[in-house]
Symmetry: C2
Subunit: 95 residues, 2 copies
């Protein structure tokens, strides 16, 4: 429980989750939204993944992240409480 809560208790990671609420999103689109460097976003996504909150699917060079459906009630409630944010989709990585 602590690990999952640590994973979501960060403004940037909450923003990532807001974006992922709109559906599967590739890393490059998330980078545009967050306004951090690509490695920073990659590292944040890794934390969310290690906590079991998001998962990823590789499509060519791209990687599409999404929120794991099955969640504890607490994590579910946190995600539900986030606004949904729709990042612009880059033209290259639409699958």
């Amino acid at each position: 429980m602590e690990k999952q809560l640590k994973a979501v208790s960060d403004a940037n990671r909450l923003t990532l989750l807001s974006c992922l609420k709109s559906g599967e999103t590739c890393v490059c689109d998330l980078v545009d939204v967050i306004g951090l460097s690509q490695p920073a976003v990659s590292q944040q996504l890794k934390k969310l993944e290690e906590a079991g909150i998001v998962t990823a699917r590789k499509v060519g060079t791209w990687k599409h992240y999404r929120i794991v459906e099955e969640q504890s009630p607490a994590i579910r409630a946190i995600i539900d409480q986030l606004e949904t944010k729709s990042p612009n989709q880059c033209t290259t990585c639409q699958s």
Copy 2:
């Protein structure tokens, strides 16, 4: 939201909340449970208080902390998911 999540994403503070689920508890009893120094517990309680998750009532030299009833769904769900832990009550500060 971030502030509240940061406040609860710590093992010791989650344990404090577990204890407070059993009802109003004075600091000295919480110190016994946590096994940290008294100042450490005091500081953790302050974080929870500043996040609006707990509140306190002073009774003489003692201070009784309790969980704030009204909570956002997310924080509510987190607290609900914690087990209830009943700390031993010290003989002096029973009010």
